[in-house]
Amino acid sequence: MRAVIWVLIMTMLLAAACRSPAPRSNEVVAVAAGTVPADPSDPIWRNAPEYAAKLLPQDLVDPRLMKASTAEVLVRAVIAGSEIAFRLEWTDPSKSDLPGAGQFIDACAIQIPARIEPDLPDPQMGMPGKPVEIAYWRADWQASVNGREDSIKSLFPNAAIDHYPYDAPPLQPGSPEQQEFAKRYAPADAVGNRREGARPNPVEDLLAEGPGTLSPATRTTSRASGVYGQPGWSVVIVRSLPEGLAPLTRTQVAFAIWEGSLDEVGARKMRSAWIPLAIREAE
């Protein structure tokens, strides 16, 4: 019996040792690799040191988050070629990825100064003349990329709908005429600002020069992949390497997490301060 217990203890210790091979770091260090991993479970991540970014409630501009929620986000980073990938992991006991009135979505974002220069922009969305680049990932967008099709029927199974004008004959389903007519009843779609529905990418690139100035980048080049499990979300965001970032230079990075089940959205978020971001060349 004593031998069995001994074997069990040894097995547990061995398993624990295998699970967290990378040491903690006091800055975000992006390690070089052959390719950037697109999957949160890729073993390459074990080579990157883990940084625990402490999060604070956004309580500087209204509307504020008055009560702290997500305490920290664990960050690892890898570079390859002209790209840098971040793996964000945070605890979230409730998955929130369904759109609706009064419902909010789990999300995360990475922020980097648009330029490497001694004077940093404000960590809260930059400042006039000192823009920041933001890559913003959302759980419902991830669900869409994974193949979930949200419809009124799927969101509200008991809904009864008589008729949509743009689905009526003689318009052919899916025809350009039908799609154009449908936009009359989806004004955000008509102006290219659809925030829900089918999309190819769960992340969007944004620019900001201070709170309230967030605007889409000319185009989104980042890509991302998020997985929900225990203890919460693991999300990989791959973006272009910040211009000028090299092994002997540093820039800064900041992170934000939104806990949808706590109505966190927009300015109501947990966010980090600026954190140094360095590159370690392949050994």
Partner: protein
């Protein structure tokens, strides 16, 4: 916060932005006493603007049966409860507006309805949804009266949807005061839904942005009243332009009803938004209730309205409601005829104050037949 003047509460108040009134302010008068809740306005709006996916639950225009009806659920009661009891001294509101009572970290006092709060517009409000068994009864605080309250966006002078948006995605048009959500800028934070006390901003789960009544601005731009106005079979509505009280003109129909006769009153002026839809209060409802909805001017408004048979100008102007699809920025009365005019005084419509009545004998002597009424 800036200090701005809100004439509806008779004092300055705090608001997120400085006072900036439009060149013209869209406004409306609804005569509650004439509304029969046929919901033609609701359907006219629905079929025009909100027939798309994600808009199913949206009623930019709705009509609810007061005192118990509401859409979304308890939209008024919840905020009144949050504001707690507040006082007026004469025409001055001594209590706190939703801007002045904003909790730390918020721009306005508000709450956000849940999906279920939108589930039952008008169901069971004034009709039976099942058979009433013999002897069945219920007891409520207000047992022997009700009225219908038609509601659209108030296109407020101090919109809380606008001030609460951290992205400035909501704007008030300088040319007509219509409040709109910029569909290209909105990111669906729903701060506006939380902050609007009238709950007239709706989140579209299919596009991920918030949407609201646009006062049919493409029609307004052509001098035509909105869909819910021109389709009103009870002719309870008139759209127009309202001046500041000190600039009120007797030949402007909205000014006349609101500022001069003071017969039309704003909905929940104590919230502090200076809403621009004005209601002629129901005359059969205890004023202890309607004072809460329309402020301290209710008793005077009802006296004035009841006196309309002796007030030819007021009676004449009330005949103009629903008489034309055109906006009528000016009006005048000549004898028993009242006319709606455009800005230059050109006549748009002419309405007799007393419809001519012809009584035909039941027997037609010419043809020697009995007349029958048939459609």
């Amino acid at each position: 916060m800036a200090r701005v003047y809100n004439w509806q509460i008779g004092r300055e108040m705090s608001y997120w932005y400085p006072e900036s009134r439009p060149q013209k302010q869209f406004a409306a008068v609804f005569d509650i006493n004439k509304c029969i809740a046929c919901q033609t306005c609701t359907v006219a709006c629905k079929t025009t603007w909100t027939s798309g996916r994600g808009q199913e639950y949206m009623l930019w225009n709705n009509v609810e049966s007061k005192p118990y009806g509401c859409y979304p659920l308890a939209w008024d009661l919840k905020l009144l409860d949050m504001l707690n009891g507040q006082e007026w001294t004469g025409n001055r509101y001594d209590g706190q507006t939703i801007f002045e009572s904003a909790p730390a970290g918020e721009r306005a006092l508000g709450w956000r309805p849940e999906t279920q709060d939108y589930a039952y517009p008008n169901v069971g409000e004034d009709d039976c949804s099942g058979q009433v068994n013999g002897g069945a009864s219920f007891s409520m605080p207000h047992m022997n009266w009700f009225f219908y309250l038609a509601r659209i966006c108030n296109h407020c002078t101090y919109p809380s949807c606008l001030s609460s948006c951290p992205r400035s995605s909501i704007y008030k048009r300088p040319e007509d005061g219509i409040v709109l959500v910029d569909q290209g800028r909105c990111r669906g934070y729903q701060e506006c839904v939380r902050a609007c006390p009238y709950k007239k901003v709706f989140f579209n789960p299919m596009t991920g942005t918030s949407e609201k009544c646009i006062a049919c601005f493409p029609k307004i731009e052509q001098g035509i009243q909105p869909q819910c106005f021109v389709n009103c079979i009870g002719k309870i509505r008139m759209a127009g332009w309202i001046s500041k009280p000190e600039n009120a003109r007797a030949d402007n129909p909205i000014d006349y009803l609101v500022h001069i006769k003071k017969v039309a009153l704003p909905l929940f002026p104590q919230f502090g938004l200076e809403p621009n839809v004005y209601y002629i209060p129901p005359i059969h409802v205890p004023t202890s209730f309607t004072r809460q909805l329309f402020g301290p001017g209710v008793d005077e408004a009802i006296r004035t309205y009841r006196n309309a048979p002796n007030d030819r100008d007021l009676a004449g102007l009330l005949c103009l409601l629903g008489s034309s699809e055109m906006m009528m920025p000016r009006w005048k009365r000549q004898g028993d005829t009242v006319m709606g005019l455009d800005e230059k005084g050109v006549e748009l419509v002419r309405v007799p104050m007393n419809e001519p009545v012809h009584i035909r004998p039941a027997f037609d002597r010419l043809y020697q037949v009995q007349r029958t009424n048939c459609p």
